[in-house]
Point group: D2
Chain length 435, copies 4
Amino acid sequence: MKKQVKVVVIGGGSSYTPELIEGFILHYQELPVSDIWLVDIEAGKQKLDIVGQLALRMVEKSGLPIRVHMTLDRRLALKDADFVSTQMRVGMLQARVWDETIPLKYGVIGQETTGPGGMMKAFRTIPVLLDICKDMEELCPDAWMLNFTNPAGMVTEAIYTHSSVKAIGICNSPISVYKWLSKLYDVEPSRIYAEFAGLNHLHWVTDIQVDGSSKLEELLQSNDSYSAQNVPQYNWNAAFMRSLGAIPSYYLKYFYLNKEMLEDQLASSTKEGTRAEIVKRLEDELFELYQDPNLNHKPAQLEQRGGAYYSEAAVKLMKSIYNDTRDVQTLNVRNGSNLDFLPENACIEVNSLVTKQGPIPLQVTTVPDAIKGLMASVKTYEQLAIEAAVRGDRGLALQALAHHPLVPSINVAEKMLHELLEQNKELLPQFYPKV
Amino acid sequence: MKKQVKVVVIGGGSSYTPELIEGFILHYQELPVSDIWLVDIEAGKQKLDIVGQLALRMVEKSGLPIRVHMTLDRRLALKDADFVSTQMRVGMLQARVWDETIPLKYGVIGQETTGPGGMMKAFRTIPVLLDICKDMEELCPDAWMLNFTNPAGMVTEAIYTHSSVKAIGICNSPISVYKWLSKLYDVEPSRIYAEFAGLNHLHWVTDIQVDGSSKLEELLQSNDSYSAQNVPQYNWNAAFMRSLGAIPSYYLKYFYLNKEMLEDQLASSTKEGTRAEIVKRLEDELFELYQDPNLNHKPAQLEQRGGAYYSEAAVKLMKSIYNDTRDVQTLNVRNGSNLDFLPENACIEVNSLVTKQGPIPLQVTTVPDAIKGLMASVKTYEQLAIEAAVRGDRGLALQALAHHPLVPSINVAEKMLHELLEQNKELLPQFYPKV
Amino acid sequence: MKKQVKVVVIGGGSSYTPELIEGFILHYQELPVSDIWLVDIEAGKQKLDIVGQLALRMVEKSGLPIRVHMTLDRRLALKDADFVSTQMRVGMLQARVWDETIPLKYGVIGQETTGPGGMMKAFRTIPVLLDICKDMEELCPDAWMLNFTNPAGMVTEAIYTHSSVKAIGICNSPISVYKWLSKLYDVEPSRIYAEFAGLNHLHWVTDIQVDGSSKLEELLQSNDSYSAQNVPQYNWNAAFMRSLGAIPSYYLKYFYLNKEMLEDQLASSTKEGTRAEIVKRLEDELFELYQDPNLNHKPAQLEQRGGAYYSEAAVKLMKSIYNDTRDVQTLNVRNGSNLDFLPENACIEVNSLVTKQGPIPLQVTTVPDAIKGLMASVKTYEQLAIEAAVRGDRGLALQALAHHPLVPSINVAEKMLHELLEQNKELLPQFYPKV
Amino acid sequence: MKKQVKVVVIGGGSSYTPELIEGFILHYQELPVSDIWLVDIEAGKQKLDIVGQLALRMVEKSGLPIRVHMTLDRRLALKDADFVSTQMRVGMLQARVWDETIPLKYGVIGQETTGPGGMMKAFRTIPVLLDICKDMEELCPDAWMLNFTNPAGMVTEAIYTHSSVKAIGICNSPISVYKWLSKLYDVEPSRIYAEFAGLNHLHWVTDIQVDGSSKLEELLQSNDSYSAQNVPQYNWNAAFMRSLGAIPSYYLKYFYLNKEMLEDQLASSTKEGTRAEIVKRLEDELFELYQDPNLNHKPAQLEQRGGAYYSEAAVKLMKSIYNDTRDVQTLNVRNGSNLDFLPENACIEVNSLVTKQGPIPLQVTTVPDAIKGLMASVKTYEQLAIEAAVRGDRGLALQALAHHPLVPSINVAEKMLHELLEQNKELLPQFYPKV
């Protein structure tokens, strides 16, 4: 008989949780989750209660022998866990507003995972995650951490560099590519094979096969590519796509269409507010719904929240590990010698065979020469920023920002960094140590 | 409806062919082979007829719509093929006798794939295979070549270095490891995962999992490892195995137990004759059986021939390519950046995901430091020998032999090379060009 | 007795030539140049005459047995040459005006070696240089080509990639660093050692020693760095310099101070004209001077022309090769495994020991992590642009530009590329083949 | 005015010391040594006195202001040292006898730096050297350690891996190559340039230039190569040399002529005794001479001792560092990315520019493919043996020996290792910890 599974959800009070609960219920046969521990911090207690009650109602409706626990005691939850999923937001949506607005003042993209905003999110998040990892090393050393917390690649790299926890970075973006292709070609996702090369939120799809036949060339000619709902809709330049020989992630629009995206952000920030503000309104509405004592399923409105397929990605990965399925998933893992122009320790987003012992990366078969420099450039920024986050080193933070492709000048970098750090002061004890 | 499959078997008159035919019959549902072309050369005509008639009787008995063709016209056979399987032996078993006996005179292991014997086999074989590849480039450029011809790693590397044919090297040794483990743990092979690192006939198994749990440590402690029937049975040294942290291929006994294997070869060569001579007797008996007009199945005696699971390996690979199965098989493929201490162009034997577009190698996760030098050393020999084979360059041949770990002196290398080349003269036009 | 030296100067009618002649005269004892061949094209005949006559007067004054030849027949000049120096400008200063002005229309730095301007210069120059190399392969296969033609790194890489000519890229920028330090510390340049890491016009000085003691830290603290006269004077940001741990080339201001440099270019282009226009006026004045039949020395005004120490760098390199001096010079050479995050074929600018057999690069000892990404990014652009230049491939040209760190959008890249190609049409036969 | 130099000689009682003293006297102008500290251990006190008195007489005769100190107090000597030279022999010549004789019993070369003997020397030496390094880190952190102690490459790698001391491995073998060539071509060594690639006692000379012209091809054709007096004289095989394209170190005869060298050792061991025994007799005679109170110069007999040019190599290196000479010397340094088929941490023997900040390795320009495997193979052994030496790990020691190219079987390795460890028991506290 197979072992029952204990799952811990850090940031359990998140609006995403009902989707995750739905996933565990739907896949109970392949992944017999006996205990779900929703963990949050004092400030999130109210949300945790609301979401936890909804989770209890959903499980009750399912009739499955799943126990749902709500707690502020992280260590209690982690003890002997099998999977730890992280979906937290240090500083909550207020900090995201800063990430999205302050850079704009300096003529730089404001975004929560890319550029200066992403760096601040990393600064706020990495120390907290490393603290959780210390607990895991002690209380559940064999558990897998599935890290969804953005910037997921940087956070994951920080964990495997500074901790012994087995961490896998995971993102809903690759799965969304499969969904798009599945719809486009009207075939099951299992009949599709897409090769991913790059970093988290900076990948290129370098081949697409349907039933083993490559469709890349025809897709590049037709210039039909996926773009998530939460990223403004610019079509890619057709001549560019044809000569590139790969399909860029929609996050690459911040780089390839920097001018246009920046103008758009500047325009929309005055009109409709930042993405953070929109999401905040959506979240408030969701929590309103969650409180309905008659609600016992994931409400349809959650899908507008962004992060579609998040639950699907998480449950799929846990299932494959649990069952030693050896199917291919696109994950954030240590580079090793795979992309030989990047450091061995770099976290990269590539196809991996998922075994019970974790993901085994497949060798990337195709990397267009054109994309290597940008990948290296962003990875340099990431590695500097990770070390700055861990050490609280302003010099490294300045170097990270000054070498980010989206920052137009070291003088801009210095001034912007000063304002960003000051604004985030309360959330960055490593940069502002108590004397 | 799926495309019917055309398979060409180069060296179709081989005694192995009935096993292959059996495989096509057994797996017809997943791999609808419509045409099997058995190709051989003039000197092999008689054998081709005998084997071909048996193949026809086997197919007839099966009732399946498979056509079997026998021909000496290679180009006719290759036209529009889907898979080309090679199982030929240039110089036939007589040349193998030389490979196995001449080195012994110089105090060096005599073996048809390892050491000087393997080098001569490569010299005889590579030019012929490259000729076949030229035909394939013209007549069936999209076909997959499954190369079983030994030394399979070197031959495959020669092909992808000097031809555009899509070649995969394949060996029955990895599949035999799975068979052994399946029996040992009494589980289906599909529940086992073994990581292979190394070269063809020079691999180490660096992890073994059953249902996702590693069994390597307990196996190393128990010192129970697989050894093929056709390799003398020395038990591995227990202290050595425990500190190595990997299970060596039984071919590694030629290196790790060189002294003992050499003594054994010298002793047995006077008594029972070489392996080539034993095989020759077995083959004669097999062809006697094959001629029986009532025989319409693979005779049991074939299993004593060695090369067990050869058919299984071949059909399994074709099936996975045909159906885009994306399962993991251990194959001989181009290194790229996988083992970063070997040349990028090196052919290595590693786990690969088999897709319709061919194998995608998995990144090797574990390579004990202790084995890197020997791997590099043999690869140096291989690359020198491949180039010597292609160019007919005696200087390179001498360097290859002089740097082979089993050759005790450059003076020995020089004398032995002279005798080997002279003995193989008729089969080595590249070394003995007509004026 | 030592061999007399034959030097060919391609672009002999350049205003720089008198400096070179002066160098040969000054160093005649160590480098006995017997023949100087000044070669130019039909369109440059008049300038060649003027410069050639001045050269003759300078040599006559020196009393040395040097013969000066002026010719439009390149092949005649190249026959049995020892050194070939290139200092040409395809399209002359008019094309430079385009390089410097067209990008500005698109909000991109206009510069003759960096960014879109540099790319166009590479497009115009590389095919012409490769033609010269074809002649050299035939007429003087043992000659050394000293390539000063900008973009010197890209042009040199094109040569050693597509020709067997022994080419060394050379730039006056490293020698200028030594001049600056020599003045700053009041010591002979020979007592200084500076380590360079990077690409041509994209290097960082990663250590500076005076009499073997490192002065880097104190220099970074004092923020005193060299800046050539022809680059606007922005002081580096002090906090940035301290945390960087290296001194950037002044060309790096186009990247690190992109915003400021761009604003400056836009402002000055309306006022004082481009650098090309200023240089044009300077050149006109110089040629006016050169025509004076009483002038028999290099006029002082030449020093305002930019390219200071150009002659010194060239003669120093020839002397060291000729005399097998084995001193260290900073040169543009093939990377090999030196900077392991760049392609092996990349041309890099690093310290090299100069022997009679050419430069042997020293292993770079220090590369701050912060600079790797930018270096990789610009090298990606360079390699795409070189291939575009050789093949006349618009797709590659678009990729090169779209991935250049200074270009803000692929749409901008596409439009700008179109205008640049059209403007340079007459000079780019590879992009506009005659039907 | 320049700083006076303090030199510490660990193993000061060695018979080599007079040569070193002679060197300091001869080169006093360029290297103003004010203090020479001869350090030895209790067991070497008598020898230290004899050698020290001779040193004092030599210095007195020179009239130079050099102070010679003899001490058993290592820490006193090391305080504020500028250079520390190591030339010690843990276990003295008795242990060398074991190194040279025990392997022979197992049919393996017995030699003090190569094979099992070298490994035992490393086991005895490395922990002692690392202890000295601990003192240096504290007492003279800026000093340079010049390590002559064999196996010099392994010992040096152990130091820079496990200590922060600035260590350079040095060997008299490269300088001997220059002496040979200087005589052969009748030119000053300074007019010769030889490229070395490989490891200590395992190098190949891949180019030889006289006045900048390559002489390699003619040397390979003539098959005239250097062989030290203390290595039996086998001529290299001519066909082998021609196709190799490099000149192997004479130590490579243990590998390339293993059979012959082994037969020779077996024969001579019964007749004339081991090299250790011969050296022991020579040493006894030398110390007899050294005691002569009238002797005030290095006696001619020392040259028969082997290790010719040892003093020259040491003083040359100190002079170049002290004076920031930037000349090229062949030294044992960290690989980095130089030989990209070896680990970055590997100690390799290559040409290096010697600056005041230490050696900067030149990129090796030529490595014949044929030699890469053997180099990798021996480096694998070395790295395993170094770790075994540091940790006292028998498993690693067995792996090191089992993977050494000269050991014919893992069973032989196991038995031989057992005997070697037992014999050296008293000198290997790390393998035989006190309970």
